[in-house]
């Protein structure tokens, strides 16, 4: 067992490592010093003290605004800090996402925890190390260059003089600005960065000792459940309180506008009460008919156009002479589908709120809760506790708002655990994406123009309104925040004329948020499939075609494609394969992107088998080549890539929210199936490590390539192009049948 997960005072403060938090802390939520524990801890982004502290035993604490969502970031950040400070990893612990203790490094999204968060921590550590060396040098009367550091001990090269970090700074503040110019280590000197270190949290997850938010308890805590409307926008008309009279231990039925919740002494009583309470709601039909979703999207009012690339004059060239191609792609509404439904604990005392949750963005949640309850920011503290993986902004923040509302109503700490139907029904959704593409090819089979239009909701990766605030009509920002979904609408291929435009829609059917690889996945699906359509139209090998249109100066990109061809033993030939005979056919497809055109390079090849009689697709194998620059932990990166592949095979083959005019109808795993073990592909990964390059994200880029690789492989196998995610059996069968009817005509 990893000893560092034994409860310490720090762990208690954070809530990780101990299942019951000392009562004094829950009390402290109402106390005078609640919001600034420890009293003088800086959280300012330009201060070394905001990021790290060294105690009198030489133990280093890293304060990370980026949190470990089950991705291994805790381990990666520990590696970065330990290596930069020259201390063993065992001397470093990480506190994450506590608004009283950790700097606001931005939400944990966008594959930026290592790329941005880690780099900030590295720079703070380098500043601290340099300051400690300066101090030791001054005290020894030598130059800093005459000193060496190992294991937190500074030694004069001459042999005369030794200082430990603890002696120099132990328990004291650095009171020092982060120096952006403080030299970081030469990559060749890293001893921990770049190594396949095992994750610090995994042993505790295998023994039951690890504490998830779902396990988190405070003394005196009550159990809450929410009762959501049966229709989005429905008004709560009546509540029959007598209907749960026979449920033991009910503390309170909390009604605030259209918000309804129950609080009970035991969890099972809360579950029963929420299920059995009799309510009436107004009828509400705010949603489009699912069968007409794409007409609805296409006719939604456009608020503005974001032109994401404009080279030459694509519209004129496309209207002019040449061979024209056009296609429309769509990508279904999907849900995050966390295995553990959202959960949070809140205590509301003395007018002050403390909230424990698995929020990706505790600093933002703090602002949202302060607004919702009309509290000064200083009276709200949000603390991250690891949760079930969220893959974006799921319901964790909403559960925090539910718990706070119930805790306020009963004056005791309340834990809210969402049901499966709450999670599938009420977590915000990845919005529907509709894409039109056009291209022109000249007589010499050269692509002369590329044009694309994306119909996607307005907004960015901002705050997503809290369900409880909406239902109770409490103050909120009323933002539409689908994430940075215009990313990867532009393309990196070298065509003479390119125009890519995002029509930003006034609204989208469901409360939107980001789900792993938001926008980048949908956009890359359309781009990389349409590119494949063009390659097929000019009878070119799809991988070679990508190479030919990649900037020759982009050596890293070409390297990825070259390694991919070798890894996948790519056979150079145009798609589809010939002849296509029999029911069971096989094919391979490739896909490639430089993520957001500015960072991680990825190439992927899918191998599929398609049963032409049933429309069933089996993804048998994926190959991935990945260049994210300097690799902090190759084991961690590979785990993220595997996760991207498997999760996105699920999204591409199976996942689609269903709904009627009132509400989501896919409220469980039977109606929203995800990939199961027999369907999991084999995965082969090649990492290109570039230790002297910048470090880039690895949590989500690979996912961008999965739907297009599969679609392209299905085309290779069958000659039929799938342009609508998910590739469900019925839909695929229909596409195959309509293609064969066309052939017969």
């Amino acid at each position: 067992m990893n000893g560092r997960f034994a409860p310490s005072r720090r762990d208690l403060l954070q809530g990780a490592g101990a299942c019951v938090v000392a009562f004094s802390l829950a009390e402290a939520a109402g106390g005078a010093t609640a919001q600034d524990l420890p009293p003088s801890k800086s959280v300012a982004l330009d201060q070394v003290d905001a990021f790290l502290a060294i105690d009198d035993k030489g133990m280093v604490t890293i304060y990370a605004g980026k949190v470990d969502l089950g991705t291994g970031v805790r381990t990666g950040l520990t590696q970065i800090a330990a290596d930069e400070l020259d201390v063993p990893m065992a001397s470093v612990e990480v506190i994450q996402g506590d608004t009283a203790l950790t700097p606001d490094q931005g939400p944990t999204y966008g594959s930026l925890s290592i790329q941005n968060g880690g780099v900030q921590i590295r720079q703070a550590a380098a500043t601290a190390r340099a300051a400690l060396l300066d101090q030791a040098a001054a005290r020894l009367g030598v130059a800093p260059g005459d000193l060496t550091v190992a294991n937190g001990v500074i030694t004069a090269k001459s042999g005369n003089g030794v200082f430990t970090y603890a002696e120099l700074i132990g328990g004291k503040h650095f009171d020092l600005k982060v120096n952006p110019a403080a030299p970081t280590k030469n990559p060749a000197d890293y001893k921990i960065v770049g190594k396949p270190i095992e994750r610090l949290d995994i042993p505790g997850k295998l023994t039951g000792e690890f504490t998830y938010i779902q396990d988190f308890r405070v003394p005196g805590m009550l159990h809450g459940r929410v009762v959501r409307p049966p229709a989005i926008g429905a008004r709560l008309e009546s509540v029959d309180e007598s209907s749960i009279e026979n449920v033991p231990g009910i503390v309170k039925i909390v009604r605030d506008g259209n918000f309804l919740g129950v609080v009970a002494l035991s969890e099972w009583s809360a579950v029963r009460a929420a299920r059995e309470i009799v309510t009436t709601w107004s009828k509400s039909e705010t949603l489009p008919e699912q069968g007409k979703l794409w007409e609805h999207v296409r006719t939604t009012k456009i608020l503005k156009d974001d032109v994401t690339s404009n080279i030459g004059d694509a519209p004129s060239v496309i209207a002019g002479e040449g061979k024209k191609l056009s296609a429309t792609y769509d990508f279904a509404i999907q849900t995050h589908g966390s295995i553990g439904p959202s959960c949070a604990v809140s205590a509301f005392r003395g007018g002050k709120l403390i909230s424990w949750s698995a929020s990706q963005a505790t600093h933002n949640l703090r602002k949202q809760l302060a607004l919702m309850f009309s509290l000064p920011l200083d009276d709200v503290r949000c603390v991250y506790v690891d949760g079930s993986g969220c893959y974006g902004r799921n319901g964790h923040e909403d559960a925090a708002a539910d718990a706070a509302l119930l805790a306020k109503a009963v004056g005791e700490p309340v834990r809210v655990q969402w049901s499966r139907a709450d999670e599938h029904g009420w977590d915000p959704k990845g919005p529907p994406t509709l894409i039109d593409l056009r291209a022109n090819i000249d007589a010499s089979d050269t692509v002369t123009a590329w044009e694309s239009e994306f119909f996607i909701p307005q907004g960015a990766a901002d705050d997503v309104d809290l369900v409880a605030a909406t239902l109770a009509d409490l103050p909120a920002e009323h933002l539409l925040s689908p994430g940075g979904i215009i990313n990867d609408s532009a393309i990196g291929y070298k065509f003479a004329n390119i125009r890519t435009i995002c029509h930003r829609l006034e609204r989208t059917p469901f409360r939107a948020s980001w789900i792993r690889t938001p926008g980048r996945m949908q956009n890359t699906f359309a781009n990389e499939c349409f590119l494949d359509e063009i390659a097929a139209a000019v009878n070119a090998d799809p991988l070679e075609f990508r190479v030919n249109y990649t900037d020759p100066a982009d050596k890293r990109g070409l390297d990825v494609l070259d390694h991919l061809a070798r890894l996948a033993k790519w056979e150079t030939r145009p798609s589809p394969q010939k002849p296509i005979t029999g029911n069971l056919v096989k094919g391979r497809g490739c896909s490639y992107v430089k993520y957001e055109l500015v960072r991680t390079y990825i190439g992927a090849v899918a191998e599929v088998e398609v049963d032409r009689a049933t429309g069933e697709i089996r993804v048998s194998k994926f190959y991935v080549v990945h260049d994210c620059g300097q690799i902090v932990n190759p084991k961690g990166v590979k785990a993220q890539i595997e996760g991207c592949v498997i999760q996105t095979v699920s999204r591409a083959l199976k996942e689609e929210l269903t709904f009627d005019r009132s509400m989501v109808t896919s409220l469980d795993w039977a109606s929203y199936p995800i990939l199961t073990f027999p369907e999991v592909p084999e995965i082969e990964i090649e990492l290109i490590d570039r230790p002297t390059e910048k470090l880039w994200g690895a949590g989500e880029p690979t996912a961008a390539l999965i739907p297009s690789s599969i679609s392209n492989a299905v085309f290779d196998a069958t000659g039929v192009r799938l342009r609508s995610v998910p590739f469900k059996r019925g839909k695929v069968k229909a596409a195959l049948q309509s293609a064969s009817e066309m052939d017969r005509r």
Binding site: G72, R199, K205, L206, E267, R420, E642, W669, V680
Partner: protein
């Protein structure tokens, strides 16, 4: 009405509504956090425990229906407080991301290995089918079960 149950080879007397699913008793009364709430519907396997050695969804098993059968949770697999062979294989293969499903995966995998100490890849896949993972840790989980089955030593 007190109800006696046997969990991880210890007897406990529980005072709770007889309709309470076993999962809530394990988590809230006995502070065993291995079994986890995922759906309450028997659809995902996060709550999997052994009942007389058989993998069972504890979220839909009422307390009153447990009777004298022996319950084993993730914690009950520990040997002298240390991970058993399968748990260690999961650690060695780094077979957890968020890890929320992992307790259920280990419990189902353990039941498989007891019934079939040398399963083929497809036997493992088919047996594990009821348990869902959202992080995409499946490939690592399959490697872990395989490793425990073949008694492979830890790779360097």
């Amino acid at each position: 009405m007190p109800i006696a149950i046997n969990v991880n080879d210890k007897s406990h007397v529980i005072y709770a509504e007889p309709s309470t699913p076993l999962l809530y008793i394990l988590r809230n009364e006995l502070a065993l956090h291995g079994p986890r709430f995922g759906c309450g519907l028997g659809q995902c396997g996060a709550c999997t425990v052994h009942v007389d050695g058989r993998p069972t969804f504890s979220c839909i098993l009422p307390l009153a229906a447990v009777g004298e059968r022996k319950i084993t949770t993730l914690e009950g697999l520990l040997e002298d407080g240390k991970p058993n062979k399968l748990q260690q294989a999961f650690i060695d293969e780094q077979a957890a991301q968020c890890g929320y499903c992992i307790s259920g995966m280990v419990m189902r995998g353990q039941a498989l290995l007891r019934a079939n100490p040398s399963p083929t890849d497809s036997e493992i896949r088919n047996y594990m089918r009821p348990n869902l993972c959202r992080c995409g840790t499946h490939a690592a989980i399959l490697r872990a079960i395989k490793r425990a089955a073949t008694g492979q030593e830890k790779r360097s």
